[in-house]
């Protein structure tokens, strides 16, 4: 699906969530509520659990419509560079950084980058600029350090 359909559709969902349930669309906060659910702790925002479940179902739907899901142990070019024994801990560690950082910033690509910026929230704008520039710097550094392999 081209960007000029998927992008505006995602933008509309941000507006729709405000128009319907008056909430900032964000995924990292949903992980937190699902953790409460799994650990048997009190859930403080129920809607986030439903959103989390919906996200999983929606992506599965997209995969099915494409004739999938096609299960693989690959991970794009990263799997071509790293053997599985290195790839697995790398992905787990990267996940920890994503979780730690998104919780610290209290928002991720969706909460700050998309919804926060579209709401003209200054904190979100600063956060989004920071993680975009960081991700670009880290990626381009990895590219240079690996001699263009990554």
């Amino acid at each position: 699906m081209p960007w000029f359909i998927a992008g505006p559709a995602i933008g509309l969902l941000v507006v729709l969530l405000y128009a319907l349930v008056n909430r900032r669309l964000g995924v990292s906060g949903a992980y937190r509520q699902v953790r409460f659910l799994v650990l048997g702790q009190p859930i403080t925002e129920t809607w986030r659990v439903w959103f989390f479940g919906g996200l999983i179902a929606g992506s599965l739907l997209a995969a099915i419509l494409r004739g999938g899901p096609v299960f693989t142990l690959g991970y794009g070019n990263l799997a071509a560079v790293l053997p599985l024994a290195l790839l697995a801990p790398t992905l787990l560690t990267a996940g920890v950084l994503i979780g730690f950082g998104s919780r610290w910033a209290e928002g991720c690509t969706s909460g700050h980058g998309l919804t926060g910026v579209a709401s003209r929230s200054r904190g979100s704008l600063v956060s989004a600029m920071t993680f975009w520039l960081t991700a670009l710097a880290v990626t381009l550094s990895l590219h240079a350090l690996t001699g263009g392999v990554l």
Partner: protein, 143 residues
């Protein structure tokens, strides 16, 4: 409220996966500045949401299920920069953010499960650190 949240979640997951944001190579090529598509994707999403949100707020209309509309806005704080530095690093390495990681295994990318497990762990670690800081400050205030 639950059904609306579920439906919007379904839509969100659908368009993330359909837009191939669940693909490491797609994210990586964007961050290498090789492919403009994802920047256009983000730009189009914000260009759609920003004016509509502004209009929605200006209309003064309450939300359907959640009462009077209150759009979240935050002043700039240290957490916005500090957290984003850590988050951006992980995003660059895994080529995934919390939303796309969640969609990854559903598209068949099994190793996405490791990123998801890491996110749960990392969030829990951050909260443990934050709790500890609060306790230490309280102790310091007492003494």
């Amino acid at each position: 409220m639950r059904r609306a949240s579920l439906a919007i979640g379904i839509g969100f997951g659908f368009f993330l996966a359909a837009g191939r944001l669940t693909d490491y190579d797609v994210i990586h090529d964007m961050l290498l500045l090789r492919e403009p598509d994802l920047f256009l994707f983000f730009g189009a999403a914000i260009a759609t949401a920003l004016p509509l949100l502004w209009l929605l707020e200006r209309s003064g209309r309450p939300s359907v299920f959640g009462g009077a509309l209150r759009v979240t806005r935050e002043r700039v704080q240290r957490k916005h920069v500090a957290g984003a530095l850590v988050f951006g690093t992980g995003w660059a390495i895994a080529g995934a953010c919390p939303g796309t990681a969640l969609a990854m295994p559903m598209t068949g990318n099994v190793l996405g499960v490791l990123v998801i497990a890491g996110i749960f762990t990392g969030q829990w670690m951050r909260e443990a650190v934050a709790d500890r800081t609060v306790r230490l400050r309280a102790l310091a205030a007492q003494s």
